[in-house]
């Protein structure tokens, strides 16, 4: 069999695989459908180049196979052809880059009405914190973290008192409402990623990173850690539940705030003291 045939079959197989693949992205469940569109565009342009180049190669292999009596063409360069190809490629590249940059501009500029969510990562788990009535998260420090202050909120920060604390790896979000995910880590790099939302960013110890999205499909999603974070990396999961406004408000009302926690601790202290007094 002529090798060209096999190369042709490889190209054909690649195209067919792409068309009939059962493995493809999950349905997008956030506002980042534009990323999927850019990927599709890249597939059209890039795939077109791939097929064209490879088919041309296969054609040459068939057409110009070695013959003792034939001489190859002698043509060191063709300035005009090279110029055309350079410009065509440049145009293709610009066509790919432009939408990419537009979406990135959207990605780094968070809408004003986004709810901030503090996602705190450690080896190996997540917990979340939502702003209270004042709409602002309190500042934190890792050294403050202990059993009484699981998020390390600075106690003298007035914004921190009403912060809602969710000590579970499942986060509830309101449908059609933008969220700004503020990521921090107490030990190593992590990355809070829901494939259906498309967006991701590393959580880096020592700084706070962010990204935003707007969930637009009610449902339950799985959170994966996608930045290698040690031997438990593959098992570091979490969850997101996207709810309607009513369900969400309902859920939010049941959560404990930092002030609640402090009060509880103080009550415990008082009870203890009273108990001690009684036994005296």
């Amino acid at each position: 069999m002529h090798p060209g045939i096999i190369f042709f079959l490889v190209i054909l197989g690649s195209v067919l695989f792409h068309i009939f693949t059962p493995w493809y992205w999950t349905d997008v469940a956030s506002n980042w459908g534009g990323m999927d569109d850019t990927i599709t565009l890249t597939f059209w342009i890039g795939g077109g180049v791939f097929i064209a180049v490879c088919l041309f190669m296969v054609y040459c292999v068939f057409k110009f196979s070695y013959k003792e009596e034939r001489r190859a063409e002698y043509k060191p360069e063709d300035k005009k052809l090279e110029k055309i190809l350079t410009w065509a490629t440049t145009i293709g590249v610009v066509a790919l880059l432009a939408p990419g940059l537009v979406i990135w501009n959207n990605y780094v500029n968070v809408p004003k009405n986004a709810i901030e969510v503090d996602v705190m990562a450690w080896q190996w788990g997540w917990q979340y914190r939502l702003p209270g009535k004042d709409g602002k998260l309190g500042t934190t420090q890792i050294v403050n973290i202990n059993d009484d202050n699981p998020f390390g909120i600075n106690s003298d920060d007035p914004y921190g008192k009403d912060d809602v604390m969710i000590q579970s790896d499942v986060l509830n979000l309101q449908n059609d409402k933008p969220v700004k995910i503020l990521l921090r880590s107490v030990d190593v790099l992590h990355n809070w990623y829901v494939p259906q939302f498309r967006a991701k960013m590393d959580a880096v110890p020592g700084i706070v990173t962010y990204y935003w999205f707007e969930p637009n499909k009610v449902g339950e999603y799985e959170v994966l850690c996608v930045e290698y974070c040690g031997v438990g990396h593959y098992a570091m999961r979490g969850g997101v539940i996207v709810q309607d406004e009513k369900d969400y408000k309902n859920w939010l009302g049941q959560q404990e705030t930092y002030a609640d926690l402090i009060a509880k601790q103080e009550n415990k202290e008082i009870n203890k003291k009273q108990l001690a007094k009684k036994t005296d």
């Binding site: 490889v10 040459c60 002698y74 990135w104 973290i145």
Partner: protein, 612 residues
């Protein structure tokens, strides 16, 4: 010792008397080449076994030494990849495999393949063997330093391999070695393992610097008469540019490795912020993990091109020789290599789009990254335009080149996905990335290495490798590797994250099980197929067909040595004089379909040869 040097009287420095004419006055002599600028090089000729084959100063022997040692580390890397694929395809099939082991294998596989296999093989192996031959030098300019370079590499490999046997094992922090992970208690190999890794890298960089200085100065300052830069084979251009990149990029790795070691040993906080580990706040504070990522990728991205550029260069030569046609658009090819090399220093943070760096960098790096696509695409066009109206020999070497074109174009296109910042967001840290970089800097350069082995083996050993075995080797490798990495992209689309020890508990990922099994089986097959080459080499060395001088009818200098395989000193009594570029194939009107670089113009008058 002095009798071991060449006596200057036996090898003449070519003075101006040995060339005819002066190119001026009476009869303009078209064969005129300027007189020698630099004195003849004295060489140290070893006599004992040790000085001839072990501590040898002959670049060709050093090249083969590099090749063998790099191949050895490559086989170690291959075995590690088998173990990883065993776990991924058939979880639990290897009973001893824990998550610790898995991550250690991932790390070592990555580092070995990128640095100790590909870099060492292309620059140390092919660079040492081919540069002096291709530019017409007697040897590298500093043979002693060259020898030390190899032995530093040897020690570096030894230190790296030693980490398998220390308590805690080798480091398991991923080949990118991102802190704080790398040096935190609980990460596999966070003690001796990471220190040995850093030490080994520092040794490698030191050794490589010695070799790299040799390659650069040999190419820049020791070319033979008539050999201009624009007459050099693209192989030399590729290796040259890659070496420049290495000289300027490895410093960042060296600094990163050194600072990481200090963080580990002295407890400094270069990369270590305040960390809460198991309820305790560690004694670190104030450092910046992202700084390491910048240093690492300031090295890491040029490193990609350190591997790719020699492959570009070599494959250009192979395609040209075996399609009996000059490489199309030579000047464009040279400028593309140089341009890609220069640009590669301005794109590093496209590996860090979702790392939490300053988000505005995304715009800068996406733009610079996609600019690189233009010269790269030009190279691809020129390869296939070289085939156009050629006279293509469909031998094993050509097959590897065609395999390279397919895999490289495929991997290059997926690179555009990942370089374009917002497309990278959903795809980064998934199997798409794994598939992309294995296709473009794993399989594609490997195809070139194999092609180069089949091409230059007749020069190194004087015998042809067996074609039939070679074709088996090619088709299993190409089809197998393609069916490993092409479908793997689609697993990345689902969202299967990389560096997962096992992953089948998520509902939408269970669909990947069957594909993972298939990929693993293909990986076993491809790995095993590489041993065909080893068998082929052993067989050929005993019974292979003798090649004789210039068996491929090539034009470039390395085939024109007085003896095959070339001896120490390469050129016998006289250095060659070069009159043309190395791609004068199928010149109209010429007697044969190639004109060697040393053929003077007076012998090819009345042909359609163009002045170069």
């Amino acid at each position: 010792m002095s009798e071991e040097f060449n006596d200057n009287k036996t090898i003449h420095a070519q003075s101006s008397e040995t060339i005819s004419g002066g190119g001026s006055s009476a009869a303009p002599d078209i064969d005129y080449v300027r007189p020698a600028e630099v004195e003849e090089q004295d060489l140290y000729h070893g006599h004992s076994f040790i000085t001839k084959w072990v501590f040898c100063q002959d670049a060709k022997v050093i090249g083969v030494q590099y090749f063998l040692l790099a191949t050895f580390t490559g086989i170690v890397g291959l075995i590690l990849s088998w173990l990883m694929r065993l776990q991924l395809g058939f979880p639990g099939a290897a009973g001893f495999m824990t998550a610790e082991h898995y991550y250690q294998f991932v790390t070592m596989h990555g580092m070995i393949m990128v640095v100790y296999f590909l870099t060492a093989l292309f620059l140390g192996g092919f660079g040492n063997y081919l540069i002096p031959l291709m530019v017409g030098a007697r040897d590298m300019v500093f043979p002693y330093l060259n020898m030390v370079s190899f032995w530093m590499f040897f020690i570096a490999v030894g230190v790296l391999m030693a980490s398998f046997f220390v308590p805690g094992g080798p480091t398991g922090a991923g080949w990118t070695l991102y802190p704080p992970q790398t040096i935190l208690e609980g990460t596999p190999g966070s003690g001796a393992g990471i220190l040995l890794m850093c030490g080994s890298l520092i040794l490698f960089v030191a050794g490589f610097t010695m070799g790299g200085l040799n390659y650069l100065i040999t190419i820049l300052q020791a070319r033979t008469r008539g050999m201009t830069l624009m007459r050099m084979p693209l192989t030399v251009w590729g290796i040259f540019t890659a070496t420049v990149l290495a000289m300027l990029a490895f410093p960042a790795l060296l600094v990163g490795a050194l600072m990481m070691s200090l963080d580990k040993v002295l407890g400094t906080s270069f990369f270590m912020p305040t960390i809460l580990k198991a309820g305790e706040v560690l004694e670190y504070g104030g450092g910046s993990p992202i700084l390491f990522q910048h240093l690492f990728w300031f090295f890491g991205h040029p490193e990609v091109y350190i591997v790719a550029l020699p492959a570009f260069g070599i494959v250009s030569d192979l395609i040209s020789v075996h399609s009996r046609k000059n490489i199309f658009g030579y000047r464009m090819m040279v400028w593309a290599i140089v341009g890609i090399g220069a640009l590669s220093f301005f794109v590093w943070a496209h590996h860090m789009y979702v790392s939490g760096m300053n988000p505005w960098f995304g715009f800068f790096f996406a733009t610079t990254t996609l600019i690189i696509a233009v010269p790269t695409a030009m190279k691809v066009y020129n390869w296939i335009l070289t085939l156009w109206r050629g006279n293509i020999r469909m031998n094993t070497v050509m097959l590897w080149c065609l395999g390279f074109i397919v895999t490289f174009v495929n991997g290059g296109i997926t690179g555009i996905f990942l370089g374009n910042v917002s497309v990278d967001v959903p795809l980064s840290d998934t199997y798409f990335v794994i598939a992309h970089f294995h296709m473009v800097m794993g399989i594609a350069p490997l195809m070139v290495i194999m092609g180069a082995v089949y091409h230059w083996f007749p020069l190194v050993a004087g015998r042809f490798l067996d074609e039939k075995l070679g074709k088996w080797h090619f088709w299993t490798t190409f089809l197998g590797a393609y069916s490993i990495y092409f479908p793997m992209h689609y697993l990345g689309f689902i969202g299967v994250p990389r560096r997962y020890f096992e992953m089948y508990d998520s509902p939408y990922m269970t669909s990947a099980v069957g594909m993972n099994e298939f990929i693993s089986l293909a990986a076993f097959l491809v790995g095993a197929a590489q041993f065909i080459l080893i068998y082929n080499i052993i067989k050929t060395l005993k019974t292979g067909k003798r090649a004789g001088s210039n068996p491929w009818k090539a034009c470039s200098l390395e085939w024109l040595t007085p003896s095959v395989p070339p001896e120490h000193g390469n050129w016998g009594d006289r250095l060659p004089v070069v009159h043309r570029w190395c791609y004068d194939y199928s010149v109209p009107g010429a007697k044969e379909d190639f004109i060697t670089q040393t053929t003077p113009p007076s012998e090819v008058q009345n042909t359609g040869v163009e002045k170069t």
